[in-house]
């Protein structure tokens, strides 16, 4: 594993060596629905701290109803106990709410390689005023042929976090990780 690029907006890693050690174990857990992405890449891993009483891990759900979250929670618990940690607690933290801005640059590249278009732009750029029929949306790049000539087929895709697009050049459908 390499450190995330400086421009990465992923969650900062802990500074004390003991906690960092446990963080690196927790960070091996992947999203069962997007197995190329670790929970660190996603920004779902919020904090890990090792104290005399055990290990405390905080995860942030991508979406409130994300069914992958229970699996990730169990996997973090399993990964830490497998290497000898005891008294592992995995907590769910709702606030501050998860945003695609926390996804690491490395994670975005892995997503594209996997065939899923990565979120474009920042969530702060999503206008949140009165709903209108047309929203400013940066063009989404086809993960297969890099064309920007794409269109949204369905706002809700195979999972809560994705929408369905099609590329008008290579004609392939693909998933797009929605900006949140």
């Amino acid at each position: 594993m390499t450190s995330p690029a400086p421009e990465s907006t992923a969650r900062p890693r802990p500074v004390d060596a003991e906690s960092l050690r446990a963080w690196l174990v927790a960070a091996t857990v992947v999203d069962p629905e997007i197995p190329v992405l670790t929970i660190e890449d996603l920004g779902v891993l919020r904090s890990v701290s090792v104290t005399s009483s055990g290990v405390d891990v905080a995860l942030t759900p991508t979406y409130s109803g994300c069914p992958a979250l229970d699996a990730m929670r169990d996997d973090v618990h399993g990964a830490l106990t497998a290497v000898g940690y005891t008294n592992v607690t995995v907590r769910l933290v709702l606030s501050p709410a998860w945003t695609t801005d926390w996804m690491s640059e490395e994670g975005k590249l892995k997503l594209i390689e996997y065939g899923i278009a990565a979120p474009t732009g920042h969530s702060a750029a999503r206008p949140s005023g009165p709903a209108g029929p047309v929203r400013l949306q940066l063009a989404v790049k086809c993960p297969r042929c890099n064309s920007l000539n794409t269109r949204e087929l369905a706002h809700f895709g195979s999972t809560s976090c994705k929408s369905l697009y099609e590329c008008k050049d290579c004609l392939e459908p693909f998933d797009y990780f929605k900006v949140l």
Binding site: T2, R21, G65, R91, S95, P96, A97, A131, P133
Partner: protein
């Protein structure tokens, strides 16, 4: 312990003061806080709204007009179940009940949901009308609830507002598509709105509980203006007029429901009640 660490990771790539991420002041744990009886009642109201609506939307899966819409309504329902789980879990902390106890073991008079969410799916336009009304209401509600003095409610709202914003978009697209589509789709959209509109008024009524939750809860009456402001341009663009007609007497917050809720609950609760304590 054989955990390999890479020395380069001890380098601070940001070059500024480190924040101890485990002690962020705005950190909130979803499962630790215990609600007072009044706060629990309020959380129950909002949780019930989301759960009943999710149950209704889930019935569309495999029946929607197109596959993408099966997926969309299923995803929206999933978001709502997520909100309901957080809210009902929190509501249960006051009485020592779990989210499942509250979802599966309460009978109709104990449900606190608004009457609009239990309205039958009807045809697709009815569902879209209900979805348009409720998602606009929830968006305004959660946007304001972010400022609640109750940290748990504020955190749930922070998450939910972003998700409901997408639900709102989805319903707006369909209202425009159906209203400006064919004569038949327009006729159905009009019927959908006129059948759902009697239940709009109840959403904005302040119950006495609100007087005891100043700063914690959001007064529904304070949301009406923002709601009207948000829907007006959509109605204008869809060339629709806001329906006028009778106003339902409401009472969902006091456990008064239409005949539809009992059937929905029977369907939702039958398995748990037939096999208490069963695990998947």
């Amino acid at each position: 312990m054989s955990v390999e660490t890479d020395d380069s990771m001890h380098d601070d790539g940001h070059g500024h003061v480190q924040v101890d991420v485990t002690l962020l002041p705005d950190e909130l744990i979803a499962s630790a806080a215990v609600a007072s009886a009044d706060v629990a009642e309020y959380a129950l109201w909002l949780g019930d709204d989301s759960l009943v609506l999710a149950q209704r939307l889930g019935s569309w899966i495999s029946r929607a007009p197109e596959l993408e819409e099966d997926v969309a309504l299923g995803n929206i329902a999933l978001d709502l179940i997520g909100h309901a789980r957080s809210l009902l879990h929190y509501a249960g902390t006051a009485s020592g009940q779990s989210e499942d106890d509250l979802a599966y073991w309460r009978d109709e008079p104990e449900w606190r949901s608004l009457q609009i969410v239990e309205q039958p799916n009807g045809d697709f336009a009815h569902t879209i009308a209900r979805q348009f009304i409720v998602s606009h209401f929830l968006f305004e509600l959660y946007t304001r609830l972010r400022d609640s003095t109750d940290a748990t409610l504020a955190a749930v709202a922070d998450k939910a507002a972003k998700e409901v914003d997408y639900h709102r978009d989805h319903s707006v697209q369909w209202v425009l598509r159906l209203s400006l589509g064919t004569d038949e789709s327009r006729r159905r959209m009009l019927v959908g709105f006129s059948d759902m509109w009697p239940y709009v008024d109840e959403m904005f009524r302040d119950e006495p509980l609100l007087d005891r939750l100043e700063g914690v809860a959001v007064r529904p009456s304070s949301l009406r203006e923002a709601f009207e402001r948000a829907i007006a341009p959509v109605f204008a663009e869809a060339e629709l007029e806001e329906p006028r007609g009778f106003i339902a007497s409401g009472g969902g917050r006091r456990g008064i429901h239409s005949e539809h809720l009992g059937l929905l609950l029977a369907d939702m609760q039958v398995l748990t009640r037939a096999h208490p304590g069963a695990k998947w």
